[in-house]
């Protein structure tokens, strides 16, 4: 069944740009998680996980069951520290490319 259907083919290209362009893989320094990161500025961070990475992260694994508590949606401080290291080592280019 059709959902929100774009009527212009360029929309699909825009969707790809905003969700997939310029992602850099960052491996966590404390566990086996690998995530895709983008940084448009010093303070901006975008982190795309996949099921495998979530599985590997002990910090996220400690969270309580499916819908229960609010801790369920906190981030992993070790991963954030690993991203900071990757930034310092120049592995993640910082800067937005025309807003995406």
């Amino acid at each position: 069944m059709p959902s929100f259907v774009p009527t212009s083919p360029t929309t699909l290209e825009e969707q790809r740009l905003y969700t997939q362009a310029r992602l850099v893989e960052v491996a966590c320094l404390d566990c086996l998680a690998k995530v895709a990161v983008k940084k448009n500025s010093e303070h901006h961070t975008s982190i795309q996980w996949n099921a495998e990475a979530v599985e590997a992260c002990p910090e996220l694994g400690r969270r309580e069951g499916a819908s229960g508590s609010r801790d369920g949606h906190r981030g992993c401080p070790r991963l954030l520290a690993s991203i900071d290291v990757a930034v310092r080592e120049g592995q993640i280019p910082i800067g937005a490319e025309d807003g995406y």
């Binding site: 009527t7 929309t11 303070h43 979530v54 609010r70």
Partner: protein, 374 residues
């Protein structure tokens, strides 16, 4: 060019809130518009709330205008009696009830004193694991009361001419809080995962405005999570003139047609120590007015905008595309779900540049006002 796209021909899979459970518990049939039709809601003698298609499977009579007889809802047209399980229980004038006499029923759950129903165009069994959480200290079932929280203040706002995705977009929309709601978001993050989408925001009111959240002495720390497509819990720590209050806001909706929905919001306030119930209730009323006003500011925008499939973003904007990718899961057959719709995604907006500009703009507005007053 703006791509308006076409809106979905289906309604989202998931739990939808119909309102406060207590509002249906008077032994009468109630009408709720939803999913392109009308639903009938009533309470049976065991106290259970039941929800069926509002139109009778016999010849289309309006069950919401019928009567509750015993445990069943009786149709005003020919008195067929329907049970909460969706089966016809009795046809007083007939020798027997046809075995096939069933109508569409919705699985129900009561959470936080509200009635929720499961919708799925594919007809799956309700998934109770993804219900919104029970709020500790808040009255859950019918007849319960809470010592720590005020009663819900519940408001219902019908919206015509907008798809409910406009409401969802707010989750990722940092800048509109300044322009539409008159507050500075100083910190703004999102996490989407599974059937949940969360916005974390810290903000302070604009001193140059008095409507909405505009107020120099208003600071908000807000965490808002959608549990599925249509039910959001917003935990708010409100600091007003140094007086701190814990507020819980429910923001939920039920689609009524392809481009209409009913927005509902509820407010409860944790009763502050040493404050009597009447005062606590007054505080909840004030906050209900403030957040209610906030919704109306959004509504005005929605009703005058067009739908956009390809928003053009700048780097200070939130992750609108990823949010919509998450939201799309509820409109997709389970067999066609893609991992990226539910994979965990985190995003922190850099609000530095925006706040620099906004501070300067507000200062200029205040200066202008002052010189006009002199």
């Amino acid at each position: 060019m703006l791509d308006h796209g076409t809106t979905p021909l289906r309604y989202a899979r998931g739990w939808h809130c119909l309102g406060l459970a207590s509002s249906f518990a008077d032994g009468k049939p109630h009408a709720v518009h939803g999913f392109g039709t009308k639903l009938v809601v009533w309470q049976d003698s065991q106290g259970k709330l039941n929800v069926l298609d509002g139109y009778c499977r016999h010849m289309g009579g309006d069950l919401t205008q019928g009567e509750v007889k015993g445990d069943h809802v009786a149709c005003p047209f020919h008195d067929w009696r329907w049970g909460g399980d969706g089966k016809c229980k009795e046809i007083p004038y007939a020798r027997r009830v046809p075995l096939r006499a069933r109508t569409h029923r919705y699985e129900t759950a009561v959470r936080n004193g509200q009635l929720l129903i499961w919708n799925d165009p594919e007809g799956s069994a309700a998934d109770h694991d993804i219900l919104p959480p029970e709020l500790p200290g808040v009255a859950q079932q019918l007849g319960e009361t809470s010592d720590t929280y005020t009663d819900w203040r519940w408001e219902v706002v019908p919206i015509e001419g907008s798809h409910c995705r406009e409401l969802i977009d707010n989750v990722a929309d940092m800048a509109h809080f300044y322009y539409v709601h008159f507050s500075f978001p100083t910190s703004f993050r999102n996490i989407f995962e599974g059937t949940r989408a969360t916005q974390f925001m810290e903000s302070k009111g604009r001193p140059d405005k008095s409507e909405g959240y505009g107020d120099a002495e208003l600071f908000l720390k807000s965490e808002a999570t959608y549990y599925g497509p249509a039910y959001m819990i917003n935990w708010l720590e409100v600091d007003y003139k140094g007086f701190e209050t814990e507020v819980i806001l429910i923001n939920c909706h039920i689609p009524t047609g392809p481009d209409s929905f009913t927005l509902m919001y509820g407010i409860t306030v944790k009763k502050p120590e040493g404050i009597d119930d009447k005062t606590a209730d007054y505080i909840s009323k004030k906050y209900a007015e403030m957040f209610g006003g906030g919704f109306l500011q959004d509504v005005h925008i929605w009703q005058n905008k067009v739908p956009v499939q390809n928003p053009l973003l700048c780097e200070e904007d939130g992750p609108v595309y990823q949010l919509r990718r998450w939201y799309e899961q509820f409109y997709t057959d389970v067999a066609d779900l893609k991992p990226e719709m539910t994979d965990r995604f985190e995003f922190e907006v850099d609000t530095t540049k925006a706040n620099e500009y906004w501070q300067a703009e507000v200062a200029a507005n205040l200066a202008k006002r002052e010189s006009a007053e002199v």
